[in-house]
């Protein structure tokens, strides 16, 4: 079983090279870089015109939940790209990061406080109660970790949730259109001209 809290050797170049070998496309003028603890992002090395495809991930590289779980519990009964997932995993936040920062890890006192912001019959309150219940019913830390990875980073492609290595390192912006789904790939393009050394962003849609 993989230790989801252990320190990981973070090698962005190796990760990007692996994806390119597997037919992902990454504009050469952008660079995946360390932004802060447990957070990576892209910067542009040169100006890039709008509407250009900047990153493209073929569907075969999208990672369904069962593959990540199999990797983490070292289950060999399912076939998956272990080298890629291993490299990708090294750049993902540790479980401890979620424990420190995620809403679903509030303690009982704080959960009570947050539910008190709502009136008793509030639909949003009910949905939050369900959210906590569902999360707390997950049996293991691995299950909770996988749940949180997909909750915070996954992409919806043909009504299925997938992790899309690389695409999920683009930071959020609320004013752009986000990612695009084609028949055989998922891609991101910039709506605006990217200036040199600019961090760039995807939208939440």
């Amino acid at each position: 079983m993989i230790d989801i809290n252990s320190a990981r050797e973070k090698n962005t170049k190796r990760f990007v090279d692996l994806l390119i070998q597997r037919e992902a496309y990454i504009d050469k003028r952008i660079l995946l870089t360390h932004i802060s603890e447990d957070n990576f992002g892209f910067i542009s090395k040169e100006e890039i015109d709008p509407k250009k495809k900047i990153i493209l991930i073929p569907n075969k590289l999208l990672i369904p939940k069962k593959n990540i779980k199999s990797f983490l519990i070292n289950d060999k009964t399912i076939s998956y790209d272990e080298e890629l997932i291993n490299s990708y995993f090294s750049l993902l936040p540790k479980y401890e990061f979620f424990k420190q920062n995620n809403f679903l890890f509030l303690n009982d006192t704080d959960i009570k406080k947050c539910l008190n912001f709502f009136k008793s019959e509030s639909p949003i309150k009910k949905s939050i109660e369900t959210l906590f219940k569902t999360f707390n019913e997950l049996e293991s830390d691995i299950d909770k970790y996988v749940h949180l990875l997909y909750r915070t980073r996954s992409f919806n492609v043909k009504n299925q949730s997938y992790l899309a290595p690389l695409l999920d390192f683009i930071n959020f912006n609320f004013n752009t259109r986000g990612y695009f789904v084609e028949n055989n790939s998922v891609f991101f393009n910039s709506e605006k001209k990217l200036k040199k050394t600019m961090k760039f962003f995807k939208a939440i849609i």
């Binding site: 809403f103 704080d110 406080k113 912001f117 009136k119 915070t152 939440i204 849609i205």
Partner: protein, 139 residues
């Protein structure tokens, strides 16, 4: 998506996020049997003869009132004032599900942990977006 959903998904406060979406069956209205029988089923689901709910998601981008709202309510009310009153009443119902004074007091004191503070800020932003939608309905 809306500021609260955003926070619940990603656990960071979406500063300046000014969109708000009501997903299918979130807009629920009680109407007379007569109105329910004439409803445009392209936009509404009808339950129990007198309860209707939105068939499609309705998104308010930048808190602007979308065209679909007008189309949805066209089959309910011929009178524009009644139409916008019904939409406003629904938005007020959504707003009334919060103990807003508790949220404001909590944010003034900021005595909780960061997760709780950011969550309260997201609720505050959600309510502020509802207020902007109400303002835009008046225009």
């Amino acid at each position: 998506m809306d500021p609260i959903k955003f926070y619940l998904n990603y656990s960071f406060y979406p500063e300046n996020y000014s969109n708000l979406t009501f997903y299918e069956n979130q807009i629920i209205l009680n109407v007379s049997k007569d109105v329910a029988s004439k409803i445009d089923t392209k936009y509404w689901n009808v339950k129990n003869d007198q309860t209707i709910s939105n068939k499609n998601p309705v998104s308010f981008y930048n808190c602007e009132v979308p065209l679909i709202i007008s189309l949805m309510f066209d089959s309910l009310f011929k009178n524009e004032n009644l139409k916008f009153k019904a939409i406003s009443n629904f938005i007020m119902l959504v707003k009334n599900q919060f103990n807003y004074n508790d949220v404001k007091l909590f944010l003034e004191n900021k005595s909780g942990n960061k997760i709780l503070i950011d969550f309260a800020k997201s609720i505050n932003l959600y309510i502020s977006n509802l207020d902007k939608i109400l303002d835009n309905l008046q225009k």
